[in-house]
Every structure is written in structure tokens, then in C-alpha cells.
Symmetry: D2
Subunit: 345 residues, 4 copies
């Protein structure tokens, strides 16, 4: 049984484990004030090409989202998110638990458009309603789609004109930035968003996300918020060491490229058999729409999610690859896929 | 420069790193539903000798406290804690941020007594005041003292008679249970408290605390609270693997014993020179009261906190040992201590 | 300029003011422990015909909703509401500010159906999502529609089968219960819901809502929640006196009947000219769809909200009547309406 | 049985009731956007002599405190209050329920001193602790003491030097400003605090407090916070009408003077018999320390709180007067007091 369930099935890239072993007995300052964390922050800033950002290392994605968004908003302010947005659906009301409403927007492909945000603003007219203040986007999105530079510029302009913060959930940012057709860089993100995070957990780390705060207005006292939300690890160097490994050379991007390459093989293999997809997804998640019989048969040897019933005996499934996905496993899957499909034709 | 600053300066016990390396490419279920986590939970239950508890693995201590306490209390209910309690002082208002007041109690040695809790209950008479509902204690406490079985039984009885939950912060539980004179077992804790946690971060793990929920009333839906507070790691096996190593034999207790032994050497070395201590502390934290000149001199080669100014040119300092503290370093410290003291005499 | 903007434009029914004057110098216990409040609670229980309910008097509707819902739910639990629900749209995120998500449901007429709730339950499958726990309905709804007994029984059954609380916002409950075709009684509400409130502010009082808690599970310590949320008036008798007047005879219902009657005249007058309505609304809110030119002309002499642009030069407007609406004003409005319509035909 | 329990036993000053009757059928805008509220705000600004303040009318004191403080603070920021402070003791954790810790300070007389606040600031050194940001004081205090101008200037300077907001709870501000020896004016308060409120409920109104926001930084979007916390009354004119009556001439101050005069008679009558007081209290609350036997006897005909057991058969009691306290009742009380005392001598 091989798993395409998610991109956090395996542990960490071996270089990360080696670095942990190597540094194990060094005594370090706690709570992210150690040399490794300092070095990681430095490397990330260099990669972004912008020294005027704050970088914080946080154990997980939900924690990053809830710590950042609750720090950025006043009590009456709300976030806007796509209906598929992770914070809206799969974080057990973590944002609302900090007191903030999330305004859902129906989208076609998981991506928000300026016009949709404008519609929300127009509908929120007075103090009887929350004040929309932060736009939450994911890149890549929860359904695998990826923002282009032109799209992000449009969102950024609209947000700045209307006093909104633009926040990007980058749980799968590596995959997005390495996907075919991508024209965004980390540097662009620092210029166009107010804050974003670079996901480590889903791209080679044991755990860890690097939150980048770009807007000066949002930087003050952020470590207080981290501590209050339980996001300040005592052994902070655990995160520092990992991000040093990911960013001291090109490792972070190489891992993402591998994941994307594996997903691409799957996508092409499925396309070749004539099946379509839920959405155009050039990143490490693929959502083919397949006959239920085919799905049942495949699930004997492979694990993956059935994402949505599409009617007429068809369902969309989600196949996820990662830095650790083995090329032989992918080839075997496509092989098996062809067999199963031909069997049911 | 050798550090006695805290018990989270180093990484993890080598067996833990080896287990991480060994299991690295295994594909596991996410979010703590993997085999390692299941095994860790099983081992902890066995060690407690009680199958009717729920065990959850959580990345850090503040997160464990805030997730548990906010899950256990209704909005108008409050916690009672010693004035020195970690949740009251050093968690940046994490509990209040979830909506709950903490009622402080002045203590002599960091430990709460039934009579003190009774006084709080008597003072809270109607709906214009919060309703005290949970008693928070730390074992060992923030100033190194340790609860005895008789003391815990007293607290437990009082809590049960008055409908209060008894919750024990066990960030340093290993050290407490292995301290000289301790007569409590994990099994006692499960019988006498409603919930407690077994600290991994400060006793050999990279990160991780094992929350044990003993009272049936507090068990329902706990994983929802974990997810909502960002306490559910995607790669949950990272915690599972560590607790398996700590509890598949006696490692957890051996590490704590080592830390205590190192602290004992320091304590005796300081006593021998005729100095006293802030509090009686048989665990891995020692709080000697020393002349400021001696402290300044020691700080050239050793790092540790100055805990409190005591007047007359004296201060209490905090020296902390851990599973990783080297015996030679401790010996060297005591040697240097003697020299410095004799110099200033 | 006559206002049909809302049902809280005027003060209180004269009997209420007289009672305030009469009792002014009596010394009363504070915080709702006075004789008037006790009497009001008694009268409401009698009217409900059920002594096993708790009744609390609270200054306003938003406050009642936020106090009740936050008291009833645990942190990970969510409310379900129609997309038009007052708590979802017009309370500035008051429920979310207490930590709870509201799950929106698209409806045709502002009323929730069991099947829609079932769909929400089916979509919430695990701890990565909030746990739906409370169904919020309004009667009459925000767009004037009214629940029938059969409908409420359906909701009640579904809620009980699935462990959900059923909560009814009764800001306009008087009008609902006195509307044409209504077959619900206060007694039914106590039997079918877990809690509901009887709106005073919009039916003859200066301020005040009577929250009725029917389910034993939700009663404990409710006054603590009221105090914590600022819902316990020092001069609580102010609310008690008003509800005594409203319920010591039939006044509450007479006032609602008057409001409905006035709305009925308007509705019929508009129908007679051949116009339709946004929704079937037998209560004291009427939502005719009129030509924008007609609306502009009417607004010279009457104030009311334009509710929604309908396209093709038509808009839905909201006309609200109350216990204080004068019949001559209504007649004059219909007269003017006819003139304006004929002018633009 | 005559009550000296509190200053909210009776209704409202007759002029207020007359104004309510007079305006009853006027149609007004809802939610505080009516002419009466506008007029009240204008009158209060004139009385303060400062047009650059924002004034909001809010139903009750706890609600004013929780709405203001939660609007003013970011999540990691805390309030500092005297141990006797109303928000700390008698509001059921209302401030903590909005997420903020209150740091208690032990005082002698219920008043905070700059040096005490400095001590708190010095103890809060890093992000592991909350950030003290707002100083909460009450004037008059919960034990009847009153701030002088020199004291308030000291607090104000310290707060400004340290970036703290100074907030005054004025539930009994009328009495404080009219107390013997007072040298503060409303104008001073606007200059020295960042926000304060003028209590109506305890000084002649049915309900209502006027929050004055002085600091520009705290003004933005305040009505959103009011709505979210349920503090925006639908029939907002109810508050407007009352504050117009209190401030269109000297009524507010005349009522407070009466209350103080009544308290003065009680104080002097008790002093004359040789008894002392818990604290120096020139306002409308008096806290004599009396023999328990005397207290028991007095309680046959008068109701009042026993405030604190003082030992040796003595207790402090609280006697409160108000705008409505009758001079004959006070004279009778002192007469009876003398008799009881002589009986037990």
C-alpha cells in the first residue's frame, strides 16, 4: 500500500536529520533566540532579497494562521477567504476562536479575485456588520491552483486602496513557486503581501513554518502573540536548524520541484487515459475525476482521499506527492492505473 | 561558557534521534493517528497502570495548558493558581486569552494548600464574581519544590468535595517523580488529579508533552480543541516516536534521575560552603542565595538566571540541570564556586 | 415625514411609562432580584404554561444572543444559521467574538429546513472541522416569514436526534405568534426549542428581551454569563416592570396584533396595485418590490429601507410597522402610494 | 426597612421620567443616531469644554468597561488595576472573557500610585509575560476614596511616559467630583485620561453611562465594538433623553451633591459616637467599623452590606446614599444608631 494521501506522511529530508544529530549537544538559547534561528532568519531574508521583513519560525500551519491573524486584527475586524480556504473549513474554527469572523467567498478555482473582494466590501457598510480587514489567500490553494503575478498584483492593489491586509497561507508555497508557469518569487511576495508564510512541514521539514511579516504596521510585539498562542517552542533551535538546511542552498526549491515533477507524471498519466480534473492544478496536488469503480480498485493498493462525489458514478479524488515520493512508486501507480482503467472500459 | 540556564538547552536523547532516522521514510497517518503515537499512548497507559485515561501528545507546555484549561472550563469559570504558577506569570496571558481569569494565591514554596483554596472558594459567593472551577498546580513547581502524596491527597479531596478539577502541569514531572523523598507515582496522579501532563521537552525529547485526561467528564471531543488551538501536528508521529523511546523502557525516569543527581551535586557543593536556598528544592532546579560579587564572578564562565534580589548584596539565582548536563561540568562548576567564594571571603 | 424604518422608532406603551412613574421611588433589590422581575418571570411562566423553564430579562437582542449562545456552546462547537440570520449578518460578529463559528445556510425564505441542517451535519465529519451544535432560527425571520408548528416540529426532531440545541431568536416573536395562519404558542416553543426569547424592545417596551431556557442542561449558572457579558442591569426592575405590564394581561399580544394589522393594510394596498413581494411575510415587516422611481417619490414623505436591488429598475424595500404605528399614517401612505404609482404608470 | 444597600435602589429623577413621557411618540433614528443622543453628546462636550472628544452612551458600567478595554487593547496587552478594582473582582471576569489579563496591585485605600504602576512595569520584561498597557482606576473608588488633581496628574504623566492608556471608571464620578476637597473637573479628566466614563445609573438615570474617549488613538470604529458587545441599544434615544436632562443644566451635579450631603450626615453622626472608618471616604459611600451587635440591631430596620470582618467583634459595613435618599431617613438612621450604640455601651 503506497500513500498519496498527503505531503506529510514521511519524516524530514536526511540533511535535516543529520543537522539535528550534529548539533544535538550544543547548548542553545531557548525560544528561538539561538544562533540557528538567527541564521535561518538571515538566510530567508537573503533569499527574499529584502532585509526589511520580520521572520518568525512557528511549529505548524494552523498555529501560524491563528497567531498571525489574531495579532493583525482588532476585535471587530474580519478576514475574507475563499469558501475552500483552509482557515474557513479545516482548522476547527481556530480563527473564530480568537474572536474573528471569516467572510466566505464562493470561487471557481480556490483563488480570490479583486472583484469578489470588492463585492464583500460593498456589502459591509456600517457598524452593524463586521469590518472586512484582511484577505486570506493560499498559494498553492487547497485545490492545487496557483496564483500568477498579475493576479497577485491585482489583489495587492485592491487591498492597498481599501486598507486591507493581504495574507498568504504558504503551507504549500514551495510547490506553488516551483510549479509550471509560475512567475512569482519570494521577493514578489514580500512586495505584494503584508505577510505570508513559507511552509516547511509539507516540504521536507519535520515541522515548521516561516512567517514573513512585510508590513511594518504588523511587526510590533509579534513574539508576545507567539508566546500567548503556544507557538514559541522552548527548543526553538529545532526549527532554526531545519530552515538553515532548507535555505542555506537550494534544497527548499529542489524538494518542491521533485514533488511537482512526481505530480506531473501522475497528471499526465491520467490525462493520457482521457480523464479530466476538478481544477487546473500545476502543483503537487492532483484532483482527477474518475469512475468510482476505478477508484475502488486503485484503493486496494494506494491510499488517497475521495474529495467530492461528482455524480454519474464519478468522483474527484486527491493525489498528493511530496519531496519524499519515490519515482518508482509513481510509475507503478500509473501502470496500475492504466490496467484498472482498461479493465473497466 | 557552560549553561545552567534551563533544561532545554540541548537537543534530544540520542535514542530519540536514532528512532527518527530509522523511521524517516515510513509513510504514516497524519495528525497523531499513526502507529507510533498509538504505541506511545499504550506505553504511557501501561506505565500509569490505568487503561481508563485518555492520552494526547502536544508539542509544548503552554499549548498543553491553554488547550486543556480552555477545553475544561465554561466561560464564567476560573482557575486557581499559586502566584508563582507558570500560567499566571510566564505564558503571556495565554489562559486569559481563551477567556478565563486565574485567581492568584500567595504561597511560601510554590505549592498550594487545601486551606488556601478553601479561602478562595469562600470569597467567591455569587454571580458577580467568577466561579472557581479548576486548581492548577505544577510538579515540580516553578521554584523547584515537589508535592508529596499526602499533600496531593489533601488537594484532591478538597477539589472533589467542591466540584473543582485538579490539573497538574508536569513540565518537570520526571524530575519531581525522581526526586529524593518523592512518594508519588504516575498511577497516583491518575487517581488523584483530573488531568496532568508528562513533560517531554524538558526531559530528553526535542519537543512534546503527554497530556493525560483522567476524568471522564473532560475527555469528550478533546482532539477538536487540539486542532482549534494549533496543537495537532501534521507529522504527529514526530511526537509518537519520541514518547515510545522515553517509555518503552525506563529511559524517561533515568534521564530525570540524572538531572536530579547533577542538581544534587550542585546543591550539596553550595551548602557545604554555608549558603542557603530560596526554597527547599529536591528536583533539577536549585535556587541558592549568593553574594552578588560571587554571582558576577561566576557568570564569567557559567550562564544562569539571577532570580530575585534578596537585599544586603545577596541574590537568589537559578541553576538548572538536565538529562544532558555533564558531570564534569558540574564538578568544574563546584570547584570554581569554591574558589570564587574563598576569594571573596 | 413618517417612518416605516423599523419597529423601535417610538418609546414604550403608555402603561409601561405609567408603571415606571408609579414605582419610581420604591427601593428595590438590584440586578434583577427585585419583586417586579420575580413577578414578570412568574407571569411569563404562566403564559407559557410551564414552570420548568428559567426566564431571564436582558436589555437587548444582540446581547441576548451572544450571552445565550456563548453560554450554551463549548469552544469547538458552532451554530448553524440561515444566511440572512441576524447573528450572521447584523451583529458585527458578536458570536464569533465569543469564539464560535456560525455556519451559513442559503435559504429561500429565511427559514431553515431539517434537510439543510442534515447536509451541514453530513459535511462536518471530524475534528479538523467545527462541531455543529446549535441551530439558530428567528421567528419571525429577518425577511418577515414565520415558522409553522409542523416546520418547528421537524427542526426540533432533527435537533434532538442529533444532539443539537434549537435556539429561537424572538426579537419579533410577538408579531410571529399573532400573524395570520400562525399555529404556534409560547407553550409549543417551550416544548420544541431548547431556548428562545420573547422580544420586548420591538413590541412596546423601552428595552428588554425575556430569554426562556427550556432545556435543563442549559440552565446552570446562567446569571454568571449575564453578568460577565454586561447583561445584568443594576436597576433590573426597569425590565421587570415592563414585562409585568406586557404580560399581566394580553397587552403583549394586542400590541403585536396591532402591528400586524397595520402591516396587513400596507401589504394589501400594495398588492391591490399589482406589485409582488420579496417573500411571503404575514408579520409586521413587508418587502414589496417596487419601481425605483416610485420608491424615490415615496421617500420624499416616508422613510424606509431599500432592501435589495432587483434589477430592471426595481428594488425590494422594507416597510415595518409597530405597536405605535398610527392607522391614519398607514392609510395616508397607501393613498400616496396609489397616487405615485398612477403617476408613473 | 430603609435601604442603604446601594445607589441604584430607586428609579430615575422625575425630570427624566417626564422627558421620556413627553418624547414617547416621537419617531427617532435607532441605535443612538437620534437627536436626543446627539444633543446629549453636545451638552457633555460643552460641559467638558473640549470638542475633541468622542462621547458614547452605553447601557451599563460592566458593559462600558468591557467594551472600552477590549477595544483599546491588542491581544497580548493587559490592564493594571487595584486589587479592589471593580473589573478585577465584581464583573465575573468580563475583561478576561475578552482575552485580557488584569494585573492586580495591592493598595491601602483603593487608589493606585505611580510608583506601584512603575513596579508592575519593571516586573514585566519580555514576551513571556503580558505587556501592561492600560491603567484602570475608579473615581470614586470601590471603597469610597477620591482622586485629587495632583494624584491624577502623577498617574497621567507616568502613563504618558510609558505608553500606557489611563482609563477611569466613573460609575460614581458625580459623587467624586462633588465630594469635599475635590479639585478635579470634567475638563481635567479629558486632559489627563485617555478615556473615562460618567456614570448615569448611580446618579439619577434609569440606566446609562457616558463614555468619553479623549485620546485620538482610541476613537476609531468604536461603534463597531459597541454593537459587537451588545452595547448599542435599538432605542438609543432612551439614553440620549436621560443625559440631556442630566446635563442641560446642573442636575447631574445637584444629584451627586445631594447624595454626598446625605452620606456626610451619616459619616458625622457615626464619628460623633466615636467610631472609625475603613478608609477616608468623602463620597457617597461610607464604611464605618462597628460592633457586630450594633450591626445586627441596625439591620432590623435598615439594609446595608457587611463589607469585611475586622476581628474583635467588629466589622466594616457599607452605607450608600443616592440622589433619592431622603433626608428624614438619614436623620432617623442616625437617631436609631445613637440609641443602639448607647444600648450596647
Amino acid at each position: 500500500m503506497y500513500s498519496f494521501i498527503c505531503d506529510y506522511s514521511e519524516g524530514a529530508h536526511p540533511r535535516i536529520l543529520e543537522a539535528l544529530v550534529r548539533s544535538n549537544y550544543e547548548q542553545a538559547e531557548g525560544y528561538g533566540e539561538d544562533e540557528y534561528t538567527r541564521k535561518a532568519v538571515e538566510l530567508i531574508k537573503q533569499r527574499i532579497g529584502n532585509d526589511n521583513v520580520d521572520v518568525h519560525l512557528i511549529p505548524g500551519g494552523t498555529q501560524t494562521n491563528l497567531t498571525a491573524i489574531s495579532a493583525f486584527l482588532r476585535p471587530h475586524e474580519a478576514a475574507i477567504a475563499a469558501e475552500t480556504g483552509h482557515i474557513l473549513v479545516h482548522e476547527t474554527g481556530a480563527i473564530e476562536a480568537t474572536g474573528h469572523k471569516i467572510i466566505p467567498v464562493k470561487t471557481e478555482d480556490g483563488k480570490l479575485k479583486p472583484s469578489q473582494i470588492k463585492t464583500v466590501l460593498d456589502a459591509h457598510t456600517d457598524e452593524h456588520m463586521v469590518k472586512p480587514k484582511l484577505v486570506y489567500i493560499s498559494n498553492s490553494t487547497e485545490i492545487g491552483s496557483v496564483y500568477g503575478k498579475f493576479e497577485l498584483e491585482g489583489l495587492s492593489s485592491l487591498c492597498r486602496e481599501n486598507g486591507l491586509f493581504l495574507y498568504m497561507d504558504g503551507a504549500r508555497l514551495g510547490s506553488a513557486l516551483c510549479s509550471e508557469g509560475n512567475d512569482l518569487t519570494l521577493s514578489d511576495l514580500a512586495a505584494l503581501t503584508d505577510a505570508f508564510y513559507i511552509g516547511g512541514t509539507k516540504n521536507g521539514a519535520l515541522l515548521g513554518e516561516a512567517l514573513v511579516i512585510c508590513s511594518d504596521d504588523l511587526k510590533e510585539d509579534f513574539r508576545f502573540h507567539m508566546k500567548q498562542k503556544g507557538a514559541l517552542l522552548a527548543k526553538g533551535k529545532l526549527l532554526g536548524i531545519q530552515f538553515v538546511e532548507l535555505f542555506r542552498d537550494n534544497l527548499f526549491f529542489e524538494l518542491a520541484e521533485h514533488a511537482n515533477k512526481m505530480a506531473g507524471i501522475i497528471r499526465k498519466g491520467i490525462e493520457r487515459e482521457g480523464f479530466g480534473f476538478l481544477t487546473y492544478s500545476p502543483s503537487n496536488q492532483v484532483f482527477p475525476i474518475l469512475p468510482d469503480r476505478v477508484i475502488d480498485e486503485l484503493q486496494r493498493n494506494y491510499s488517497f482521499y475521495v474529495w467530492a462525489k461528482m455524480g454519474s458514478g464519478m468522483s474527484a479524488v486527491r493525489l498528493v506527492t511530496s519531496w519524499a515520493t519515490r519515482e518508482e512508486a509513481v510509475s507503478a501507480f500509473i501502470e496500475d492505473f492504466r490496467k484498472v482503467v482498461s479493465m473497466y472500459r
